[in-house]
C-alpha cells in the first residue's frame, strides 16, 4: 500500500519505518524541516532500540522516504496522523497540529484515501476531523476516517509494533476496515521476517478489535488511565507498607498472582511520567467532565502521583537531614529505561526539587543526557555512573536501566563520601546492596543497613520496628 505518515516523532517514525519493513511504500512527513533533513542524512532525531537499522535499511531501499507534508499526502491510499497532542494549560489536549494536518490533507490528498488518527485524541475527534475534511475538500476528495490508537511503549516500540497484544480499529465503513486489515495483514498473521529477533514466528497472533470510532478513541485513554491508576494504587500501598513494616515486594507479588490483577505495573516507585500517562490521564478527566461525568477517581490517581516526588525528597531528607549543600548523584534521567525521552520524567522533576533546596546534583543517564540538557541546562552531567558517584553523600536511583543492575558496587563504595543508596525504583533486594557496605533505602520496604555500621544500624532498626 501507499502510505503516508504525518509526524516523525516516536510514534510516527516508528510506525513509518515498520510499515515500510513489512512491505508498504511509505512517505514520512513532518513540519520540522530540520528533523526531515536529519533523517534524510541518515541520522536519528531520538534513540529507540532497533529503530535506526530499520530506518536506514528502508530509506536506502527507498521504501521509506522523508518529505514535506503537502507532497507526502498526494496519492496516498492511507494517511496516518501521528503528530503530537500535548496538553494545554487547562488539561485539554491541544489538537491544533491534528487540525493543521487535516487541512493540508483536505487540500492536497487525491483519490480515495483513508485518514487514520493514530495520535491519542479525545473521543469525538474523529467526527470533528471528518467535518474539517469535508469543509475544506468539499467534493474534491473521497475519504474515510478511522481511529487506530497506538499502544507502543518507548524503549520497546519496535517490538510492540511487530508483536502487539491487540490492534484496535475504529471504523464506520467496511472499506475502511478492509484497508486497515490489509495494512496490518503481516502483523495480524504474524507472517513477517522479524527484524528484532529472527526466531519469533511462534508469537500468538494479536487480537483485531473492530469498533466504532468513539469506542476506539476511548480505548486509548481508558487503557492508559487504568495503567496509571494501577501505578498510583501500588504506590499508595507501598506507603502503607512503610508505615506498617510490611514489604511491598511481597505484597505486590501476592496481589499480582491473582490473574484478575496481574503482576504488570505493580512496581512502586517515584511515580509515572513520560509523554503519555500524565497527559492522557489529565485529558481523560477533561473528556469525562465535558461528557458530564465526574471522574474524581482519576483526579486522585493524579494527586497520588504528584506527591511521589515530595515523598522521595522526604526520604532523602530523613537520611541526610539538611539537603542544602549535599552532593547527590542522580542515576537515570529518562522517564523509563531504554529511551532518551525526558518529557515529564520524574527524575527531572526530582532534580528540580533538589536544586531548589540547593543540593549539588551530578547526573548520569546512558541515553537521555542530550535531551535533559535542553530542559536542565545548568546541571553537572557525567559520562559514567562512577564519575557521577564520586564524593557524593547519596546515590539516587531514578530510572531502572539494566546498566545500573550491573554496577561495580565495590568500586563505587570506594568513590562515595557516604555509602548511601536511595532507590526510587526498587531495583535491588536490600541484601544485594548492603552486602557491599551501603545503606539501602527503597520504596515500600524497611530501610536496610550495612552491618559495617553497627551503631547506626541498631539505632535505626530499633526505631523501625513497630
Amino acid at each position: 500500500m501507499k502510505i503516508s505518515v504525518i509526524g516523525a516523532g516516536y510514534v510516527g517514525l516508528t510506525t513509518a519505518a515498520c510499515l515500510a519493513e513489512i512491505g508498504h511504500s511509505v512517505r514520512c512527513a513532518d513540519n520540522d524541516e530540520g528533523k526531515l533533513n536529519l533523517l534524510r542524512s541518515g541520522r536519528m532525531p531520538f534513540f529507540e532500540t532497533h529503530l535506526e537499522t530499520i530506518v536506514q535499511r528502508n530509506h536506502a531501499a527507498r521504501t521509506l522516504q522523508f518529505e514535506e507534508v503537502e507532497n507526502a499526502v498526494k496519492g496516498a491510499e492511507a494517511i496516518l496522523i501521528c503528530v503530537g497532542t500535548p496538553p494545554l494549560d487547562n488539561g485539554d489536549a491541544d489538537l491544533s497540529a491534528v487540525a493543521n494536518v487535516a487541512r493540508i490533507v483536505a487540500k492536497h490528498a487525491t483519490g480515495h484515501c483513508l485518514v487514520i488518527e493514530k495520535s491519542t485524541v479525545p473521543v469525538k475527534t474523529g467526527q470533528q476531523l471528518k467535518r474539517q475534511l469535508q469543509l475544506y475538500a468539499g467534493n474534491r476528495l473521497q475519504c474515510d476516517l478511522a481511529s487506530n490508537p497506538e499502544f507502543l511503549r518507548e524503549g520497546t516500540a519496535i517490538h510492540d509494533f511487530f508483536h502487539p497484544d491487540r490492534i484496535v480499529i475504529g471504523v464506520d465503513t467496511e472499506w475502511a476496515a478492509a484497508q486497515l486489515r490489509e495494512m496490518y495483514r503481516p502483523i495480524l498473521e504474524q507472517s513477517f521476517h522479524c527484524p528484532v529477533h529472527p526466531q519469533c514466528q511462534h508469537t500468538p497472533k494479536p487480537a483485531l478489535i473492530v469498533t466504532d470510532t468513539e469506542s476506539s478513541e476511548l480505548i486509548k485513554h481508558a487503557s492508559n488511565s487504568f495503567l496509571a491508576m494501577k501505578i498510583s494504587f501500588i504506590n499508595m500501598v507501598a506507603d502503607l507498607c512503610e508505615a506498617t513494616g510490611a514489604n511491598i515486594t511481597k505484597v505486590a507479588q501476592g496481589m499480582g498472582m491473582d490473574p484478575r490483577i496481574g503482576p504488570a505495573f505493580l512496581n512502586p516507585g517515584i511515580g509515572f511520567g513520560g509523554f503519555c500517562f500524565p497527559k492522557d490521564v489529565q485529558a481523560f478527566v477533561r473528556i469525562a467532565s465535558q461528557a458530564g461525568c465526574d471522574f474524581s477517581l482519576l483526579k486522585e490517581v493524579e494527586n497520588i502521583n504528584k506527591r511521589r516526588i515530595d515523598r522521595f525528597v522526604e526520604k532523602i531528607r530523613q537520611e541526610l537531614w539538611v539537603i542544602a549543600g549535599r552532593k547527590l548523584a542522580v542515576l537515570g534521567l529518562a522517564f523509563k529505561p531504554n529511551t532518551d525521552d525526558v518529557r515529564f520524567a520524574p527524575a527531572i522533576e526530582l532534580i528540580r526539587a533538589l536544586v531548589r533546596e540547593s543540593a549539588i546534583v551530578r547526573a548520569y543517564d546512558p541515553q537521555a543526557t542530550e535531551k535533559a540538557k535542553a530542559v536542565l541546562p545548568n546541571l553537572d552531567y557525567c559520562s559514567s555512573p562512577y564519575e557521577a558517584s564520586a564524593d557524593t553523600d547519596a546515590i539516587l536511583l531514578t530510572t531502572e536501566w539494566d546498566e545500573f543492575r550491573a554496577l561495580d558496587w565495590e568500586r563505587i563504595r570506594g568513590l562515595v563520601a557516604r555509602p548511601l543508596i536511595i532507590d526510587g525504583r526498587n531495583m535491588f533486594t536490600p541484601e544485594e546492596i548492603t552486602a557491599h557496605g551501603f545503606h539501602y533505602i527503597s520504596i515500600g520496604r524497611q530501610p536496610a543497613f550495612s552491618s559495617d555500621d553497627e551503631v547506626f544500624s541498631r539505632s535505626k532498626l530499633g526505631a523501625a520496628l513497630p
Partner: protein, 471 residues
C-alpha cells in the same frame, strides 16, 4: 493433621470441607446452634458448588462439627480463625469475634499449636492475637500466630480453594512454616490433583499452585490490597461506562480493547450496577480505615466507593427514564444475589434496588435460582417470588436483570416477550446484545451502551453521523 476451623460460614465451611478432602481431620466449630444442628443433620446451609459432595464424603468421619471451642483447640495442631469481621459504624473492621476466639485459646494450649487467621483482618491483627494469647499467661513457645488469607469467591468457593491462584502464608517465626506447608502439601506437591475423586479441574487452573511465604503484615495487606484493587477495577469500568453512554460509545467494545492489554486483562472489567457482597464493601472500608490509622488519606478508595454508589443511582435513573413514572408499575426482577452462582445477598445491589423501587411504589415479582430464601428474610412481604423467570415477567411493565446468573443470559426471549405487558428490559449486567434484543422486539437498556428500540435500532442522538463518502 488435626485441624480446628472456628466459624462455619462461607469461608470456614468450605475450608473445613476442603481440608478434610485433603486428608486432614477437621473439627468445624461455630457458636450458632441452629447452624450446627443443620450441619450435623446433613443439611448444607449455603449454596456452593461441590460443597454437598464434600460434606457427604467426610461428614461424621474426617469432618465433625462442634460448639465446644475449648475442646476443639485441645484436639488440634492447627486452629483456623474464620469468623466474621463485619464493619463497625466507623467503617473499621469489627474484630470482636476474632478477639473472643483468641481469648478462648490460651487455656487449651496443651502443646505447640499454630493459630491461623483466615478471616480478612487489618494489618497488625496477628500481633494483637499473639498479645491477647500471651496476656492470658500462655507460654510463648506453645504457639505461633500465622496469617493465611482466603481468596475464594462465593459460588465457586470449593474450586477456588482447591485450585487457588496462590496460597499466601504470613509468618513471623520460621517454626510454623513447615506446619502450614504440610497442611497444603497435597495441593502444592500436586498429589491431590492425581486422585480419581478430586474435584474437577477448572479452566485456567495453575497446577500445582504457588505458595508464597511473607511476614504476617504483608499477608494481611495482600488480602486487603487485592480486594481493594479489584473493586477499583470495577468502579473504573463503571465510570468508563458512564462516559460511553454520554458520548455514544459501546462499553463492551471498550472493555475488549483495554482488556486485551495483558497488563490489564479482561477479568473484572464488567460494567454493571456495582459490586456488593460480604467482602468488597466491607474490606474497602476496613482498608480505608487501616490507611487512616497509618496516617494516610486513601482517597482513591473513597472514589471507588463513591462510583459504586453512584452506579446504583444511575440504574434507578435509567429505570425512571424508561418508565417515566414508577408508582403502581409492576416490575419483574431477575436476580437478588449479589452475584451469580451464590445465595449470598449481603450488601447485594439487587436487594438495595428492590428496596428503593418498593419505596417508590412499584410492585415487584422476583426470581432468583438460589437466593430466594435469604431474600425473603430481608425484603418486605409485598415482594412476590416467582417459580421461574417466565412467571416473574408475567404482565410486567418492565424486566430488570440484576444478577448475572448464567440462566438469565439464556432466556427464551420469545416466551418472555409474550408474557410481558410491555417488552421493556433494563439490564444491569449487560447479558444481551442490544441489536438482537431490538430485533426480538424489546426496548432494551443496558450499561454503557446506547439504548436499543425495535423501530429505530438505537436512539438517534447517539448515532454518529455517517461517513462523508462521495459527498
Amino acid at each position: 493433621m488435626r485441624v480446628a476451623v472456628v466459624g462455619s460460614g462461607y469461608v470456614g465451611l468450605v475450608a473445613g470441607a476442603c481440608f478434610a478432602d485433603l486428608g486432614h481431620t477437621v473439627l468445624l466449630v461455630d457458636n450458632d446452634q441452629q447452624k450446627l444442628a443443620a450441619l450435623k443433620g446433613g443439611q448444607v446451609p449455603i449454596h456452593e458448588k461441590f460443597l454437598p459432595e464434600l460434606l457427604d464424603r467426610h461428614r461424621g468421619q474426617r469432618l465433625r462439627f462442634s460448639e465446644d471451642l475449648h475442646a476443639a483447640v485441645l484436639e488440634s495442631d492447627v486452629v483456623f480463625i474464620a469468623v466474621g469481621t463485619p464493619t463497625t459504624e466507623q467503617g473499621e473492621a469489627d474484630l470482636s469475634y476474632v478477639e473472643s476466639v483468641a481469648t478462648s485459646i490460651p487455656s487449651a494450649l496443651n502443646g505447640y499449636k499454630v493459630i491461623v487467621e483466615k478471616s480478612t483482618v487489618p494489618v497488625y491483627t496477628s500481633e494483637w492475637i499473639r498479645k491477647i494469647i500471651l496476656r492470658h499467661a500462655a507460654d510463648p513457645d506453645s504457639f505461633d500466630v500465622a496469617s493465611n488469607p482466603e481468596f475464594l469467591r462465593e459460588g465457586s468457593g470449593v474450586t477456588d480453594f482447591l485450585f487457588p491462584d496462590r496460597i499466601v502464608i504470613g509468618v513471623d517465626d520460621e517454626r510454623c512454616v513447615s506446619v502450614l506447608r504440610t497442611l497444603y502439601a497435597p495441593l502444592t506437591d500436586g498429589s491431590y490433583y492425581q486422585r480419581g475423586d478430586a474435584i474437577p479441574r477448572p479452566d485456567r487452573a495453575q497446577i500445582p499452585p504457588p505458595l508464597i511465604v511473607t511476614s504476617t503484615k504483608s499477608a494481611e495487606l495482600i488480602k486487603h490490597a487485592s480486594n481493594a484493587f479489584l473493586a477499583m477495577k470495577i468502579s473504573f469500568i463503571n465510570a468508563v461506562a458512564s462516559i460511553c453512554e454520554a458520548v455514544g460509545a459501546d462499553v463492551q467494545q471498550v472493555c475488549q480493547g483495554i482488556g486485551s492489554d495483558r497488563r490489564i486483562g479482561h477479568r473484572f472489567l464488567n460494567p454493571g450496577i456495582g459490586y456488593g457482597g460480604s467482602c468488597f464493601p466491607k474490606d474497602l472500608k476496613a482498608f480505608r480505615a487501616v490507611a487512616r490509622e497509618c496516617g494516610y488519606d486513601f482517597r482513591l478508595l473513597d472514589e471507588v466507593m463513591h462510583i459504586n454508589e453512584e452506579q446504583r443511582q444511575r440504574f434507578l435513573r435509567k429505570v425512571r427514564s424508561a418508565l417515566w413514572t414508577l408508582r403502581g408499575k409492576r416490575l419483574a426482577v431477575l436476580g437478588l444475589a449479589f452475584k451469580g452462582g451464590t445465595d449470598d445477598i449481603r450488601e447485594s445491589p439487587a436487594i438495595m434496588l428492590v428496596e428503593t423501587l418498593l419505596q417508590e411504589g412499584c410492585s415487584i415479582s422476583a426470581y432468583d435460582p438460589a437466593a430466594e430464601v435469604r431474600a425473603r428474610e430481608v425484603l418486605p412481604a409485598s415482594v412476590q417470588f416467582a417459580e421461574n423467570p417466565y412467571a416473574a415477567v408475567r404482565d410486567a411493565d418492565a424486566l430488570l436483570i440484576l444478577t448475572e446468573w448464567d440462566e438469565f443470559a439464556a432466556l427464551d426471549l420469545e416466551r418472555v416477550h409474550g408474557a410481558m405487558k410491555y417488552p421493556i428490559v433494563i439490564d444491569g449486567r449487560n447479558l444481551y446484545d442490544p441489536e438482537s434484543m431490538a430485533e426480538q422486539g424489546f426496548t432494551y437498556y443496558s450499561i454503557g451502551r446506547s439504548a436499543a428500540t425495535p423501530e429505530v435500532r438505537s436512539s438517534p442522538s447517539n448515532v454518529p453521523p455517517r461517513a462523508v463518502e462521495n459527498s
